[in-house]
């Protein structure tokens, strides 16, 4: 609570001083609070909107000092999870909403995707095994890699359905104690 309260105090002081139009003047750079470790993005369930969300996510992770390799890992996982929501949760073609809530903390990065589409029905999340690629080139699988990539690149995946909302939580390790510095 210390952070937000401190910020409110600054805002009140500034408003008393120099804001004749009643709007909050921009804080000087030195007084600007550290970039929030928590943010929220939104998309509709279409391929192009998912692209925009992934691009916005990458920009925010970069701005918070995450290394490029980890930004890539997060984008691969989120792309797969988002594609699943577009293709399965909203399979009826209805372009419903998708929320992404990201929290960057000492324990890692946690991303929670929420949607109001069809719930996952299988008991438990897919195991995400690598499809058999030992076959002849002509028999290679062209799909089935999504959950494998999600499982391979995350520390933990949780799914929860409540009140008509699905929440898929994806946890990533950070490279070191100062890895998220920014």
């Amino acid at each position: 609570m210390t952070g937000p309260m401190a910020r409110c105090a600054v805002t009140r002081a500034e408003r008393r001083g120099t804001a004749p139009d009643g709007r909050e003047p921009p804080a000087p750079a030195a007084a600007r609070p550290r970039m929030s470790p928590e943010f929220h993005l939104h998309a509709t369930a279409t391929d192009m909107s998912v692209r925009d969300l992934l691009s916005g996510m990458r920009t925010r992770l970069r701005a918070r000092g995450l290394p490029e390799a980890l930004c890539g890992t997060v984008e691969i996982v989120l792309a797969e999870a988002l594609n699943n929501i577009v293709e399965h949760a909203y399979a009826d073609g209805k372009a419903g909403g998708i929320g992404l809530h990201a929290v960057l903390g000492p324990a890692g990065l946690t991303c929670t995707l929420s949607d109001r589409g069809t719930a996952l029905t299988a008991p438990g999340l897919p195991a995400g095994r690598l499809p058999d690629i030992g076959a002849e080139p002509g028999a290679l699988p062209e799909g089935g890699f999504g959950w494998f990539l999600i499982r391979s690149l995350t520390r933990e995946v949780r799914y929860h359905r409540d009140g008509g909302i699905s929440r898929l939580t994806l946890c990533f390790d950070l490279p070191g104690p100062d890895g998220a510095g920014g």
Partner: protein
């Protein structure tokens, strides 16, 4: 999707001039690859140096592009950027495709 192609020494190089082969692009990519590899050399190199992101839909489309070329023909990859290389490595598709650092180097070596 518009693909660029050149042909040298019996090897066709196909360049993808887009940043992503993802769910939004996979089908267009696969169709464009079918058109560009329908005839011509049996050896094709797909230059992915301008592609910085491939998801599992894009990976599936690249595999499909290789399969639709038919037996006896060969699709190599070149110029994988870091996130794309990661997807190929994790799914072990780097053991299925011959992957060159650069498309032009691959043409020189394979043709020589």
């Amino acid at each position: 999707m518009e693909l660029h192609e050149t042909c040298h020494d019996g090897i066709r190089t196909v360049t993808v001039p887009e940043a992503r082969i993802d769910a939004a692009a996979a089908l267009r990519f696969k169709d464009a690859m079918r058109a560009v590899t329908a005839d011509g050399p049996d050896h094709v190199i797909l230059d992915l140096s301008q592609v910085n992101f491939v998801d599992s839909s894009g990976l599936g489309a690249i595999i499909a592009a290789m399969k639709q070329m038919g037996a006896g023909r060969r699709l190599d990859l070149a110029g994988l950027t870091p996130d794309v290389a990661k997807v190929f490595r994790l799914t072990r598709m780097d053991t299925v495709f011959v992957i060159h650092d650069r498309a032009d180097g691959a043409v020189r070596r394979d043709a020589g």
